[in-house]
């Protein structure tokens, strides 16, 4: 019998909508098993990923991206530095969100990998005299490799104990860095002018290159996180987060999944760490492994924006930067305020701002879920 197929009519039916669908597809170019048509008695059900809102958003996102990439031609050095910082913070936030919000691994020690990536870059370009770009490329895998023995220790712990355990590990790395002479011990290392010249002799060009690198790395990290979540592994993660024993009983290899996520996150964090300290020009144990700079701020971004969602880290990042600029003259009061806001959010709206939006409006800009699109029964009768 001929399988029935019913097409979902696009309500707008306009060129814009078609463009939006194309943009949507461009943003998610690796799809396995994206659309599965199933024939049933009543009609055809289609497993869909996109939503109307996400298609519109995809268009807007592409426009914003084009503007950002073009900034070296229309923006100034200060703005590029700021936007570059926003970009790498949002990447750090996405990674922490992947670990904690999706994999349920609440780590308070990701700053270890920021520091490891930074130190890798400095060591490779300094004593090892490697080209700065190669050093940056290797910084990530180095951090990922270091994460392997770390996971053997910390995976023994659960929940909040896991959190503090990751913190201890970070302290250990910081202490080692402060004791090893070739890493500059307590005072750290600086990038020599020769290394900087490898990027460019002009400070402006360097600023632009580092800015674009920041954007590129941030986009790469986001793509990795997004694709991971849209894949089978993403589904496994959500299952593990909801109930580890239940998912284990269904055949999900919980240890391997968590392990892979932890290593991957560490590697990406290391790459970002390399980039951060390349921009800062010097590294020290205190700065490289600073829990305040790389973990506290990141956690606040994710929690306030909306943990367990892809949109949350963006919102949290924007709120953080607004607060930071507004309260710049008041010393560490802005941290006190962020602490109070985080507490309030956890008590009143534990899923953050975006979580609240999802609950009220059922919006999703980065679709990772799968929605069943049911065809109306009468269409099936038309044959």
């Amino acid at each position: 019998m001929e399988p029935d197929r019913v097409e979902q009519e696009t309500t707008a039916g306009s060129v814009l909508d078609l463009l939006a669908v194309r943009a949507q597809a461009a943003l998610s170019f690796v799809q396995t098993g994206l659309l599965q048509a199933r024939v049933t008695e009543t009609g055809v059900e289609r497993v869909e990923r996109g939503t109307q809102a996400s298609r519109i958003f995809a268009l807007v996102a592409v426009a914003i991206l084009i503007a950002l990439v073009a900034m070296p031609w229309w923006g100034d050095a200060g703005t590029m530095r700021l936007v570059g910082e926003m970009a790498y913070y949002v990447a750090l936030a996405q990674l922490w969100n992947l670990l904690a919000g999706y994999a349920g691994l609440v780590s308070v020690g990701q700053q270890a990998y920021v520091g490891l990536g930074g130190y890798a870059l400095f060591y490779l370009t300094g004593p090892m005299d490697m080209n700065v770009y190669w050093a940056l490329i290797l910084a990530g895998p180095f951090a990922g490799l270091m994460a392997i023995p770390v996971s053997f220790a910390v995976f023994r712990l659960r929940g909040a104990y896991f959190a503090v355990g990751t913190w201890v590990v970070s302290e250990v790395f910081a202490l080692f860095a402060s004791l090893i002479a070739i890493l500059g011990a307590g005072s750290g290392l600086s990038l020599t002018p020769a290394i900087l010249r490898e990027i460019s002799s002009s400070r402006d060009v360097r600023g632009a290159v580092l800015y674009l690198l920041s954007l590129a790395i941030s986009a790469l990290v986001f793509a990795v996180v997004y694709l991971l979540l849209r894949s089978r592994h993403g589904l496994a993660l959500t299952a593990i987060r909801d109930s580890e024993p239940a998912s284990a009983s269904l055949g999900v290899n919980t240890f391997r999944t968590k392990f892979i996520i932890y290593i991957a996150t560490a590697a990406c964090t290391g790459l970002i760490g390399g980039l951060i300290f390349l921009q800062k020009l010097r590294i020290s144990p205190e700065a490289g492994f600073s829990i305040n700079d790389w973990t506290v701020v990141v956690i606040f971004m994710v929690v306030i924006g909306g943990i367990g969602t892809l949109e949350g880290p963006f919102i949290g990042m924007l709120i953080y930067f607004v607060l930071r600029e507004l309260l710049a003259d008041y010393g560490s009061y802005y941290l006190i305020l962020m602490g109070a806001i985080a507490i309030a959010v956890m008590l009143k709206a534990p899923f953050g701002i975006w979580g609240w939006v999802i609950q009220r409006y059922d919006l999703q800009l980065f679709p990772v879920g799968r929605r069943l699109a049911l065809a109306p029964p009468e269409d099936a009768a038309k044959r």
Partner: protein, 287 residues
């Protein structure tokens, strides 16, 4: 190398670490709450003592008369007002709320006292030592170790010989059924944190006499407390004392090899024990 003195010194250090750990252990045992702000509360106690000393000229030991009730009240209010609401939400709310409290305390102290080091002074006893043939034992560490032992002893008495202790153990076993038997869980949790803070106050003041403290000194104290609890094994108070001693010993050995290796040696011992014997030396919990 004067190994015997090093070992004694390390072992006595365990008294401090055990005092650090008691509050954390109680929180987790009774409320299943890992208080990330624990270290900062220890430091806060030291600062309260500092304020008392500055304003009244009292000896730091005597300042405990004020510090202990203040910290008790703070703990009770914190649990009753804030932390009780986080208990039913899973792993993240308690962790993140106490994390937020930690940041607030650190930065509040920073704004209030500035980024300076302080120490509570009590005079001669800080450096006095008992001398035996071949042995030299610091008086102050000995006193603190005795205090820690008495504290744990008192806590055991509370848990096993009193009505309140019975309620604590019941709630720790099965909070739902405890409530069905007529126990007011919320009040009990608040009382538990209040009592935990008594030991936190002791820890803050006593350690603040031995070592300098600053607004950001909290995290390392949390980590040391945490390591003592994990090494000793969850759920056992005496185990925590042993855990503290093991930690102190590791640090003393590390410091003897090179003074800059002290803290690192402790961390490495902790990680080693974690890998080899993850449930600790004397584990007792039912989780």
């Amino acid at each position: 190398m004067d190994w015997i003195n090093i070992l004694i010194q390390g072992g006595l250090l365990g008294g401090f670490y055990a005092l650090f750990a008691i509050g954390l252990s109680m929180s987790f045992g009774i409320m299943r709450l890992v208080n990330i702000a624990h270290g900062d509360l220890i430091v806060l106690a030291a600062y309260v003592a500092l304020l008392v000393v500055w304003n009244t000229g009292l000896d730091p030991f005597l300042s405990l008369v004020v510090v202990v009730p203040v910290m008790f009240a703070l703990g009770y209010a914190l649990q009753r007002g804030l932390l009780n609401q986080t208990l039913s939400g899973g792993l993240l709310p308690p962790l993140l709320v106490t994390f937020g409290i930690s940041i607030i305390i650190q930065n509040g102290l920073l704004q209030g006292f500035g980024a300076y080091d302080h120490r509570l002074q009590v005079g001669a006893i800080e450096t006095a030592s008992l001398r035996f043939p071949g042995l030299s034992v610091g008086v102050y560490p000995l006193v603190v170790f005795a205090v820690a032992t008495c504290a744990i002893g008192a806590l055991q008495l509370l848990f096993y010989r009193t009505r309140l202790g019975r309620a604590f153990r019941a709630v720790s076993d099965d909070a739902d059924t405890a409530e069905l038997m007529g126990i007011d869980n919320r009040k009990l949790y608040a009382l538990a944190l209040g009592i935990a803070m008594i030991f936190t106050a002791l820890a803050g003041v006593l350690f603040g006499i031995r070592t300098i403290f600053a607004p950001l000194s909290g995290p390392i104290r949390l980590i040391l407390a945490f390591e003592a609890v994990i090494i000793g094994g969850l759920g056992s108070m005496w185990g925590t004392l042993i855990g503290g001693m093991v930690l102190g010993l590791a640090q003393a050995i590390g410091a003897a090899l090179d003074p800059t290796w002290q803290i690192l040696a402790g961390h490495l011992a902790f990680l080693a024990i974690l890998i080899v014997r993850p449930s600790g030396l004397f584990p007792r919990t039912r989780d």
